[in-house]
Symmetry: C2
Subunit: 189 residues, 2 copies
């Protein structure tokens, strides 16, 4: 017997995306976003949702570009800090001692120290309510060599991404490998 909790934003897992943008003066900013995910395979696209009040919102509207950066567990403090302070008020990259590197394909900075970075060109925008959905077309994925295996496949267990839980407002790590998709369910099929 299930209990109704009402209309709430509860799903597990949600990601920790650090979104990189430039402001009008060319200053790099980074923000922590949990409302997001891949939304199309072709063209490859990722969606992020932002409130209008954020500094990043204006930067994306201005430049039509952003990066999505995946922090490892080791950068939990920096990732969380990016969600606490607004880029209107301070230079978050400098304070976090991280390096904004200009994208190769878009006018947006990626986080040099993070293992996995996506360069995205704004594909479309959808006003939903409190949040606006920005869909970015992924023009390039940049990965540190030490997260790739011999076949150059990016390995989640080497990235050690943060996993966000919106109910207890906490970060978790990745657990163990449980099975292969399109495979473990064949027993039933």
């Amino acid at each position: 017997m299930k209990k109704s909790l009402g209309p709430k934003t509860i799903v597990f897992p949600t990601p920790v995306f650090i979104v990189g943008t430039y402001d009008k003066e060319g200053r790099a900013n980074a923000m922590n976003v949990a409302w997001g995910g891949i939304c199309c395979s072709s063209p490859p696209c990722v969606a992020i949702s932002l409130r209008r009040a954020t500094y990043t919102y204006g930067n994306i509207v201005e430049n039509k570009a952003f990066t999505v950066n995946i922090p490892t567990e080791n950068f939990i403090k920096e990732a969380d800090y990016f969600g606490i302070v607004s880029g209107k008020k301070e230079d978050k990259f400098a304070k976090a001692k991280l390096t904004p590197k200009k994208g190769e394909y878009v006018y947006a900075p990626y986080v040099e120290e993070f293992p996995l970075c996506l360069e995205c060109k704004l594909h479309s925008t959808l006003e939903i309510g409190l949040h606006t959905l920005f869909i970015g077309e992924i023009l390039d994925v940049k990965a540190e060599k030490d997260i790739l295996d011999q076949e150059e496949v990016c390995r989640i267990e080497k990235v050690k991404p943060l996993i966000f839980s919106p109910t207890d407002i906490a970060y978790y790590g990745l657990g163990q490998h449980l099975g292969q998709a399109f495979s473990i369910g064949k027993e039933i099929a």
Copy 2:
């Protein structure tokens, strides 16, 4: 020094959402979706992306409703099976020995045996490319009592959700608690 992998759909983590719908004949169907996530806090909304070819696509267009169900690790085989076979061909609920329960607020079935189920009314639709984005307004979250704590907060470590990795096409479990959000980064702020 990062290596460019080109335009690919790589982010970590991605979720395992089991999406429940009814077809024109009122038969319950369930599908496995990794392209999705929360996309608005108010109204509370969740986005899922589907290819037009899927049975679920037609069902959502028809009924303007779906459920998002979060399986625990224990249901990894059933969850994977829902992604292997099309509902056009077989009764997936029956085959997986799971129970489709009619939603209280929308015309869509949720998975009775799963601990966390969201009832969603179609809010908007956006054609992107190969995938179509469906935004569902969450009208109710239903949770098993054993995933709630004393304050009735839904606990991710009790849900034990599956985490999908799109690169090695595999399921992972949840790891340990690493820190609280809006807190652990205050050292830097």
